[in-house]
């Protein structure tokens, strides 16, 4: 899945002014339920943007090296 398609970063990293209920996991590319991710503390703020993750692994991966996953050429492993 390519991040540059309409469903890409703008949506995935959206901080929800448009009241979206789902977001894209920037690491694996999965669609994540925002409320659920918030409940389970599966989100990270990076440079003012909140990112949501499917699980702990993706969150840690992202935390280790956010620029790698925000790079436009990065293709989620899924």
């Amino acid at each position: 899945m390519d991040r540059n398609v309409p469903n890409g970063q703008e949506h995935g990293g959206a901080n929800s002014s448009d009241a979206a209920t789902t977001a894209l996991d920037p690491v694996c590319g999965m669609t994540v339920d925002i409320a659920g991710a918030r409940d389970r503390n599966l989100f990270l703020e990076h440079e003012g943007t909140t990112y949501y993750f499917c699980g702990k692994g993706c969150k840690l991966e992202f935390g280790d090296n956010p620029t790698r996953y925000l790079d436009p050429s990065y293709v989620p492993s899924m």
Binding site: C28, G55, G57, L60, E61
Partner: protein, 904 residues
């Protein structure tokens, strides 16, 4: 000071290589979790490969257990941000508890089955005795017909309750077209029972055939009872087959000392995982297989290798679970646990060997295989003959002949033939220290043609002993021994103990040693009266630049004999050599000679090095071509298997745990001496005391027992076979004799007496070591051996002749009365006889219909005769008075077939 002759054995037994472990991972959601965990695992030192499966939530890791352990893997996964489900993997293989539970439940079942056999046997024999008393008692109280109806019920119950197993077993054999002893029992007792039931329910049918309504309920019950008794006796001697496995399982340590984060925790053995670090302290058992990573020690591996001298272990060396650490303390990394350990492999080998061992067909079964069909053919022939040529009613008479043959063909002494001989044989053996586990072992041992002897503990003492003390130039030999003994008295090492034992014989007290130090794996050192004394192996001496050139020749000589050499150095100079070896037992050579004189081929088998093996073989007289050295436990069993494949009957003699698989594999496993419990449990014969000459004694005893069993079976069958023609009715045309319960009981009694007394004769076999006499051979020998039983037969026939003569004499003195039945009336209609005197009534039936002559109110004063035939009846009436006699065939008495008997 150590011998590493066993090093190759250990290496191939426990190959170190990467191992695989599966860890259950929690919290994975997507493929990137998978990647992350795999990446973290792969960068852990020692891990070669890691594969994580999202669907099954499992991480499969291949790693070098000498570098990493489970805790390292778990922390890698935790570092990646995931959890490993606690202990789930650990409870997957509760090997020890599993095995033990299995073994225990098998034992309980076995015990229950044995109790059941005994109860069934005793009830059957008891019932049979009651039946006999009732049936052969002078019948004045109850008529036979009424008694039969009473006996019918318990007899039927016994027939199917106690005899049920014979039907099942006969059915099983019959489906493959085979016949066993059980078939014979099932067919014989069924015939006896069924005939008796018919006689009881329809006595008229039998009456009309001119036969007495006699039943064989007692025969059936006693045969079932005695055969079950024999079986119980044999079973009891057999012991637990699962015992070896239980002992093996019991060998492993119960707990392990887990080293984690620098702390030592004692944990259950089942919780130890490959890769765990474990501390093993002096005197403890090594908990699982692994690699020594820190420390040094000598480990007693005799259970695996049979080598009595402990092996030195340095970092990187393999250590095997359940072996015993002697002096040093060390840390090991577990490589194989649970079902993968060397011990578990031995368990599996023993299990496999015990399971694959084809049960030896009992001799009685082999006889039955041909005897049963033969009997059925003979029975069928007599049926056909009676049916075609016999008088009326043909069908009844033909059936009676058929059944008679089948009944008499089943000898109850058959059930005693084997067990009594085995009981006496095993009892005799036990007196001399030959413990035989059951009849199969004796039967098998009697057929042996090949004996494989383990070296250590069988031919040798199995204990390190000082073979030679060689002082260097200018050193006093006693002084040398004294110093060495004093120094070694501080040591716990088995080699040291051998030196101490020799020094102690000298009866000079030990001197004070200062600064004693054990140099693990190499030797000991200390200061005695100001002199620095070192005892150790060549490496220890070389490291200290001590010149051993003076002892080069002696070293070579001892090495050629497989002895272990230690050197003694005083103040930095080589002062002497101490050779320690496992000496050959004094009786070993004689034992081998006797075995060979008995026609047995003798092999030597050992886990030890070739040189030691050859040296021992030379001393005891075993051909070099029949020496197999440097074999592992599994290979020992394979050597046995190979010889068996050549069609040989192989006995394996050994004493170690390492021998257990071979002992179980062999046709006869013989555990010798104070051997390991496991070896004893895995074996069929145990020789107490360790004298190897007992091997020949055991085989000789088995051969004698086997011969007795053969004789017993012959004579057990002989009397019954003799009565088969009688049952067929061959004598009927001449004397009117057919089979009757008294004849059957007589055959039973004589054959049982023959068998039991013949078995007791086994007591005269001398099985003491070296006292064994060769068996008589050839036709003359067989004849002399059978003289006793032939004597019994003669006595029996003489007695039968005596009874017959007495019978004749009674007849001669008796009052003879002739009665004729004609036109449904008796002639005469009045008979006078004397009270208390024998009377013989000759009843002749001239009518074309069956008649009998019966005195009313008196049991068994009844003679029936078929048309045109006559019957004889002998009786005594004690009570004077007037009686009525009549024909019991319905309507005949009413038609006037009556008369008066006056007893004066």
């Amino acid at each position: 000071m150590s011998s590493d002759a066993t090093a190759p054995a250990r290496d191939s037994l426990a190959p170190t290589g990467p191992i695989e472990m599966v860890l259950p991972v929690e919290g994975m959601t997507c493929a990137s979790c998978v990647n992350r965990i795999e990446r973290f695992l792969r960068k852990t030192p020692g891990v070669e490969e890691a594969a994580v499966n999202l669907a099954t939530e499992k991480a499969t890791v291949r790693f070098d257990p000498t570098v990493a352990g489970r805790s390292e893997l778990v922390s890698a996964i935790e570092a990646a941000g995931y959890d490993v489900k606690p202990e789930a993997a650990r409870s997957e293989e509760p090997v020890a508890t599993d095995l033990e539970a299995e073994v225990t439940s098998e034992d309980a079942e076995r015990e229950k089955a044995q109790r059941r056999t005994l109860v069934q046997s005793l009830v059957s024999i008891g019932a049979a005795l009651v039946f006999m008393v009732l049936m052969f008692w002078p019948q004045t109280v109850w008529a036979m017909e009424d008694l039969n109806k009473l006996i019918l019920w318990p007899a039927t119950f016994i027939q199917f309750w106690a005899g049920g197993r014979f039907y099942r077993s006969a059915w099983k054999a019959g489906r493959h077209g085979g016949a066993t002893m059980d078939t014979l029992v099932a067919v014989g007792t069924s015939a006896a029972w069924a005939y008796s039931v018919v006689v009881t329910m329809y006595p008229d049918v039998i009456h009309e055939a001119g036969l007495h309504p006699e039943t064989y309920f007692d025969s059936s019950a006693i045969i079932i009872g005695l055969i079950l008794l024999g079986r119980w006796l044999e079973d009891r001697a057999k012991g637990r087959t699962t015992g070896a496995i239980r002992r093996l399982v019991g060998l492993q340590a119960k707990t392990a000392r887990l080293v984690r984060d620098g702390e030592e925790v004692e944990v259950e053995l089942a919780l130890v995982q490959p890769g765990d670090l474990l501390r093993v302290r002096p005197g403890e058992k090594v908990p699982v297989d692994g690699v020594l990573v820190e420390g040094m020690s000598a480990v007693d591996e005799s259970m695996l290798t049979g080598e009595p001298i402990p092996a030195t272990k340095n970092p990187g060396d393999e250590v095997i679970g359940a072996t015993i650490n002697t002096t040093g303390s060390f840390i090991m990394r577990a490589t194989r646990v649970g079902r993968d350990t060397a011990l578990a492999n031995i368990v599996a080998l023993v299990q496999r060997a015990q399971g694959s061992k084809a049960p030896i067909q009992a001799m009685a079964d082999r006889i039955a295989e041909t005897f049963v069909p033969a009997v059925l053919v003979v029975a069928a022939l007599s049926f056909v003959a009676w049916f075609l040529l016999g008088p009326e009613p043909r069908l009844t008479l033909a059936l009676t002949a058929f059944i008679g043959v089948v009944i008499i063909a089943c000898p109850c002494a058959m059930g005693l033939a084997t067990p009594t001989a085995i009981m006496v044989g095993t009892g005799k053996g036990a007196e001399t220290g030959i413990l035989v586990r059951g009849g199969q072992a004796l039967e098998a041992a009697g057929r042996l043609d090949t004996v494989i002897l383990d070296k250590t503990g069988t031919l040798t003492l199995g204990k390190p002993t000082v073979a030679e003390i060689l002082p260097g130039p200018g050193v006093d030999s006693r002084e040398l021994l004294d110093l060495a003994g004093s120094l070694e008295s501080n040591s716990e090492h088995p080699l040291g103990r051998a030196i101490v034992a020799t020094a102690r014989e000298d009866e000079r007290g030990f001197r004070t040693v200062e600064g004693f130090e054990a140099v693990a794996g190499n030797g000991v050192r200390g200061t005695i009266e100001g002199r620095e004394v070192l005892i150790g192996n060549a490496r220890m001496m070389t490291e200290r630049a001590i010149d051993l050139a003076a002892f080069a020749d002696a070293t070579d000589r001892h090495a050629a004999n497989g002895a272990t050499v230690s050197y003694v150095a005083i103040d930095g100079r080589a002062a002497g050599l101490v050779a320690i070896s496992d000496p050959v037992k004094a009786e070993s050579a004689a034992a081998v000679r006797t075995l060979e004189s008995m026609g047995l081929t003798v092999w030597l088998l050992t886990g030890d090095g070739r040189r030691t093996a050859d040296a021992v073989a030379r001393q005891v007289g075993i051909e070099p071509a029949r020496v197999v050295a440097e074999v592992l436990p599994a290979d020992k069993a394979a050597v046995v298997e190979r010889l068996q494949a050549e069609g040989r009957h192989v006995a394996m003699v050994g004493d170690g745990i390492n021998d257990a698989p071979a002992l179980a594999q062999a046709d006869v496993g013989v555990a010798i001496g104070t051997g390991a419990d496991v070896a004893i449990e895995a074996s069929d014969i145990t020789l107490v005391g360790g004298d190897p000459r007992l091997i020949a004694s055991a085989i000789g005893l088995s051969r004698a027992t086997l011969r007795t069993i053969r004789q017993n079976l012959f004579w057990a069958f002989a009397y019954n076979v003799l009565l088969i023609p009688v049952a067929m009715g061959v004598l009927y045309p001449f004397t009117g004799w057919t089979l009757n319960p008294a004849l059957a009981a007589a055959a039973m009694a004589i054959s049982s007496v023959s068998v039991v007394t013949n078995s007791l004769r086994l007591r005269s076999v001398d099985v003491r070591p070296g006292q064994l006499k060769p068996m008589r051979r050839g036709p003359l020998g067989v004849l002399r051996d059978s003289a006793f039983l032939a004597g019994i037969a003669l006595v029996a026939f003489a007695m039968a002749g005596g009874v017959y003569a007495a019978d004749r004499a009674i007849d001669g003195s008796a009052q003879h009365v002739e009665v004729i039945g004609r036109n449904v009336a008796f002639q005469p209609t009045e008979i006078r006889i004397r009270a208390g005197q024998w009377t013989v009534v000759e009843f002749t039936n001239l009518d074309p219909i069956f008649h009998d002559w019966e005195v009313e109110g008196l049991a068994n004063v009844d003679a029936g005769a078929r048309p045109g035939q006559s019957a004889r009846l002998r009786f005594v009436i004690d009570q004077p008075g007037t009686y009525e006699y009549l024909c019991t065939v319905p309507n005949h008495a009413e038609a006037g077939m009556v008369g008066t008997l006056i007893v004066e």
